[in-house]
């Protein structure tokens, strides 16, 4: 079987790709896509840990699945986040005529 550490390395690599996208891209839609990559990297990490940590139970409940359950919540929040991001990008485009995040500097000091 593939050891846990290789899944963690894959997750770290995917996370830094997303981080680079957030830092370097100027189009708002591409920034949102990079955030999705980072969320997926976190999910890989959680699910790999959940699968490898072994079957343990605390009292009546199964701690074993906690990683998978948190991953479900992360996917839920990602869906909500993308919906809101679309709305904000649309409003931004309608008000300012651009989706370039460098030109949205109204709150810059």
């Amino acid at each position: 079987m593939v050891p846990l550490v290789y899944f963690q390395l894959l997750s770290a690599a995917l996370f830094v790709i997303g981080l680079y996208g957030v830092l370097a891209r100027r189009s708002a839609v591409l920034v949102v896509m990079s955030i999705e990559l980072m969320l997926n990297a976190v999910n890989i990490n959680l699910i790999a840990a959940a699968a490898h940590l072994g079957y343990r139970s605390v009292g009546e409940v199964f701690v074993h699945f906690d990683g998978q359950i948190i991953a479900i919540f992360i996917i839920t929040v990602a869906a909500a986040e993308v919906g809101l991001a679309l709305a904000i990008i649309l409003r931004m485009y309608r008000n300012r005529g651009t989706v370039n995040v460098d030109e949205i500097d109204l709150m810059r000091w």
Binding site: M1, V2, P3, V5, Y6, F7, L9, L10, A12, A13, L14, F15, V16, I17, L19, Y20, G21, L23, A24, R25, R26, S27, V29, L30, V32, M33, E36, L37, N40, N43, I44, A48, A51, H52, L53, G54, V61, F62, H64, F65, D66, A71, F73, I75, T76, V77, A78, A80, V82, G83, L84, A85, L86, A87, I88, I89, L90, R91, V99, D102
Partner: protein
């Protein structure tokens, strides 16, 4: 066999991810993201998370990519090729590579032996979700509702406000 699948899926995931942050064409970036997310669903299958793989394909492969494509099409997509990368992209690259080095080193040092992935029964997952995690589950549905209402209010046109 497991190694072959893992390496194949990892390469597809990372190539898709690099495609998202490197390509000029924003629609190609969305399609690269789709490839990467479907490969991640395969990785969930290696880890015996069948339900998560299914949810990944449905929500990411179906809903989120479609919403992103909507965002691209509803804004002027002809503008995107002219939006170059940030001038500080070398600093971003240095920060990303530095973080990768730190994360990889800490994962490598702190690795420990495990019995290998196990296959949990889907029924146990459901039991856990609806007993111990029942309140976070309800809060998650509330979060979705609030996000949906907020998105509608933010995105609607100004004429019928008030």
């Amino acid at each position: 066999m497991s190694w072959v699948l893992f390496i194949l899926l990892a390469v597809v995931t990372l190539v898709g991810g690099v495609g998202v942050v490197a390509t000029r064409n924003v629609v190609h970036a969305a399609l690269s993201l789709l490839v990467s997310l479907l490969a991640v669903a395969g990785i969930y299958l290696i880890l015996f998370a069948e339900f998560l793989a299914l949810v990944q394909v449905l929500i990411y492969g179906g809903a989120i990519i479609i919403v992103l494509l909507f965002a691209i099409m509803l804004t002027r997509s002809s503008e995107y090729p002219r939006i170059s990368d940030n001038r500080q992209w070398p600093i971003g690259l240095v920060a990303a590579v530095g973080l990768l080095a730190v994360l990889a080193a800490s994962f490598w040092i702190s690795q420990h032996q495990s019995a290998g992935p196990e296959s949990p029964a889907l029924g146990n997952l459901a039991n856990s979700l609806f007993t111990r995690w029942a309140i976070p589950f309800e809060v998650a549905s509330l979060v979705l509702l609030v996000a949906l209402i907020g998105a509608i209010i933010i995105a609607r046109t100004g004429e019928d406000e008030g």
